[in-house]
């Protein structure tokens, strides 16, 4: 009797293992579904493989941007057709690049071309980054300071310049400025040049939100874990930028967070004039807030030019292309009238130094083709929508979506100073996550601003010390 029972139980246990296996695989799947798809497609062409093995190398690119995965695949096919060199593109799912890279690069067939996110990322991958100082790609860079370089060489070359600020819907702004009883004396959004004016306009708009037909001035300050990078990374860049500037440094072991009150200014403005109550923000995502702008529920949202797709793809969006404009993020710092958008990059190409020399050469050739041949440049400009930092692109070879155009307009305006992306020096993902968690608690009212400030200062020092060991 007992034996039978035991065997039933064992069967049950086995089934459970299978089920549990399925359960956890789903998590992994999110990270790798693109991978398997791709590698399946890859193994389908073994004939090519062997043909190429004699002489030329292969390219294996691990792509960071899931939103343009298909375009990279098209490009790979095109390049193979043109040159006969095999190109394999694998895309890491959103937010899983480091995980995917860690497991992919340990394989025999490792990525030959991958990307790092700046100096901090370089620290992690320095064993794998090839010196690129002799490549044409590096020589094409307009501003060589943007590259990740040390005394020993150049290890990461940025391939796209991005900018972020406050995106606003000019149609709603025009409606506001046309109001009889507006409380400000300026007459267009372009005249907002500092935090004081911004605050006055935003608060008066909130008072008139019924007249304007909006639910709030700002779209939701998305604070769901994993969706809070617009605040703990991008917005946090501004106070750090000004602190670095005051001290004349580009990195520090101990941040004082001297501009914490300025951060609070703008963050409070976002929270208090939003279409979502502060206590509900932990259920909102970045996509939600972009949709709120697209649907006309909100007039402003903080994000970068990569967000154009999120606006354009929303069903029933009411925002006209020519009304999508950028405004710098003003936080109430002396002299911010000449502040531009935050422009920089955290996308740097690196070549795997542990790959075979043929593969390395093939990878460099692929990237150089991409940024110098007519076909490559056409894809980069019109399909990937990248603003590149390379001199190979002519005036008329710039992306034409409204946000990219705005970024270019701000970059070319010599009276404005762009804010550099100093967040590439933030100590670690853990720091950002803890900062985001503190902001969430502040928004919900379970933490005071002083505690948030202390968290930032303490965590910065602790995390810098932890990774320095």
């Amino acid at each position: 009797m007992k034996k039978k029972l035991v065997s039933i139980l064992l069967c049950a246990a086995m089934i459970s293992t299978v089920l549990v296996g399925c359960g956890s695989k789903e998590a992994a799947d999110q990270a790798t579904d693109e991978t398997t798809e791709e590698s399946a497609a890859d193994t389908a062409e073994p004939a090519d493989d062997t043909a190429q093995a004699a002489g030329t190398g292969k390219v294996y690119y691990l792509n960071f941007k899931p939103e343009v995965a298909e375009i990279w695949e098209e490009l790979a096919e095109l390049y193979t057709k043109e040159t006969g060199v095999e190109v394999k593109v694998v895309t890491a799912a959103s937010g899983t690049y480091e995980q995917t890279l860690k497991s992919e690069i340990a394989k025999t067939d490792a990525p030959t071309l991958f990307q790092i996110n700046g100096p901090v990322g370089y620290q992690s991958w320095k064993e794998y980054c090839l010196d690129l100082s002799d490549t044409d790609l590096y020589s094409w860079m307009i501003d060589k300071n943007l590259a990740v370089s040390t005394d020993e060489g150049v290890f990461g070359i940025p391939y796209v310049v991005e900018g972020y600020g406050i995106i606003y819907n000019d149609a709603i702004m025009r409606n506001y400025f046309a109001l009889e009883d507006k409380a400000v004396d300026i007459s267009s959004a372009e005249e907002i040049k500092n935090f004081e004016t911004l605050k006055a306009v935003v608060e008066d708009m909130t008072a008139h939100k019924e007249d304007l037909g909006i639910e709030g001035v700002f779209a939701s300050t998305s604070l769901t874990p994993g969706e809070d990078w617009r605040w703990q990374t991008h917005l946090a860049n501004l106070p750090v930028y000004y602190e670095y500037k005051d001290k004349g440094i580009s990195d520090t072991d101990t941040l004082e967070f001297t501009y914490s009150d300025n951060f609070k200014n703008i963050f409070d403005l976002y929270l208090n004039n939003s279409c979502t109550a502060p206590t509900m923000l932990a259920s909102k995502t970045v996509e939600d807030s972009m949709a709120e702008l697209a649907l006309g529920k909100a007039a402003m949202v903080q994000n970068g030019n990569w967000g154009w797709g999120d606006i354009a793809d929303v069903d029933g969006n009411t925002i006209a292309e020519e009304d999508v404009k950028f405004m710098p993020i003003y936080i109430g710092v002396e002299g911010e009238e000449t502040q531009g958008l935050c422009t920089g990059t955290e996308n740097f190409f690196s070549i795997n130094s542990k790959a075979s020399p043929e593969d390395q050469a093939a990878s460099v050739a692929f990237v150089e083709w991409l940024f110098s041949s007519d076909t490559g440049k056409d894809y980069v400009t019109n399909k990937l929508g990248f603003i590149t930092p390379f001199s190979t692109f002519e005036e008329d070879e710039k992306p034409s979506d409204p946000l990219a155009k705005e970024v270019l307009r701000y970059m070319e305006d010599s009276s404005l100073t762009s804010v550099a992306w100093n967040f590439t020096s933030f100590p670690s993902q853990t720091f950002k996550d803890n900062f985001g968690a503190a902001l969430l608690e502040y928004a919900q009212g379970s933490m005071t601003w002083d505690d948030v400030k202390n968290t930032v200062v303490e965590q910065w020092a602790a995390e810098k010390a932890a990774i320095a060991e």
Binding site: S24, A27, S103, Q123, A437, E441, S446
Partner: protein, 280 residues
């Protein structure tokens, strides 16, 4: 019989042994070795002694997660087994539609943890939205959310095991007890429960180890928010591994500690409940 078994032993077991070695034994020992190393990828490890273990306990994250996990495990194990057992008793009463009920209760177990996590996140946030709140307003919502989720997922499964056990209780034993004048409660306490002790052992083992190892549901439901207050051990290990540069080894060290902990708890639970099993 014996001889043929011996003859074909290799044919039947070697493939499994090879698969088991590749996917379990080797990674396990590699993992233990890596916990003493500094590494970015598993192929370029450098020996670093015990420093990873020192770092693992240098802040309170791991201990907080341990405390949270322990609290969760106690509540979840008790509630899951209690409800599962009650359902099992109900559904062995020859009520109409028993099979449908059994299937329905078992179904949540067929859905993956990540999916369940997101579904329950929507449900709980939807309910809390009435009070202008989200699940991340306080760690207690996340805690009870996890308890509810795990109950929902595991009760049906444990119920099936208990049903199997209860159906195997010999009818003559129960009849004899009745003849001797035992009331239903006494039958349950003195006949049924001792007889289903093997099921209880298995169910306790599964719930204890699942509660301690819980990861997908935790990741999807709360992701540790607010401020890592609802992060369980497995999630803390994951965050350590990927959260900081150069902390892969520390995550690995935590994982080794985690393994020892779960093994000790699960094995002592097995030994304890085994002792109560009776032969029929």
């Amino acid at each position: 019989m014996e001889r043929t078994l011996k003859k074909y032993f290799a044919v039947f077991t070697v493939p499994t042994i090879i698969a088991f070695t590749i996917s379990f034994v080797i990674p396990f020992f590699m993992g233990v070795y890596l916990s003493f190393c500094e590494f970015t990828t598993v192929v370029d490890a450098e020996f670093a002694g015990l420093s990873n273990y020192v770092k693992a306990f240098s802040n309170m994250d791991f201990l907080n997660a341990l405390w949270f996990t322990a609290k969760f495990a106690v509540i979840a194990v008790v509630s899951i087994n209690l409800f599962a057992f009650l359902l099992a008793i109900l559904l062995t009463r020859k009520i109409k539609g028993t099979n449908i009920f059994r299937t329905v209760f078992f179904m949540p177990n067929l859905i993956g943890g990540i999916v369940l996590g997101y579904i329950w996140q929507l449900v709980i946030n939807g309910v809390l939205a009435k009070y202008e709140m989200t699940m991340f307003a306080d760690a207690k919502y996340g805690f009870w959310g996890l308890v509810i989720l795990m109950n929902w997922q595991l009760i049906g499964y444990m119920m099936i095991i208990y049903i199997a056990g209860i159906q195997n209780v010999p009818g003559e034993l129960i009849d004899a007890a009745r003849v001797d004048g035992a009331n239903p409660l006494q039958v349950l306490k003195n006949v049924t429960i001792p007889m289903v002790m093997p099921s209880i052992t298995i169910c306790l083992f599964l719930t204890v180890s699942n509660s301690f190892k819980l990861f997908d549901q935790n990741l999807a439901l709360t992701g540790g928010a607010p401020s890592r207050k609802t992060a369980m051990l497995a999630l803390d290990i994951f965050d350590t591994f990927y959260g900081r540069i150069g902390f892969e080894g520390v995550g690995q060290a935590k994982a080794v500690v985690f393994f020892i902990l779960v093994a000790v708890i699960a094995l002592s639970q097995l030994a304890l409940t085994r002792r109560k099993e009776v032969e029929n």
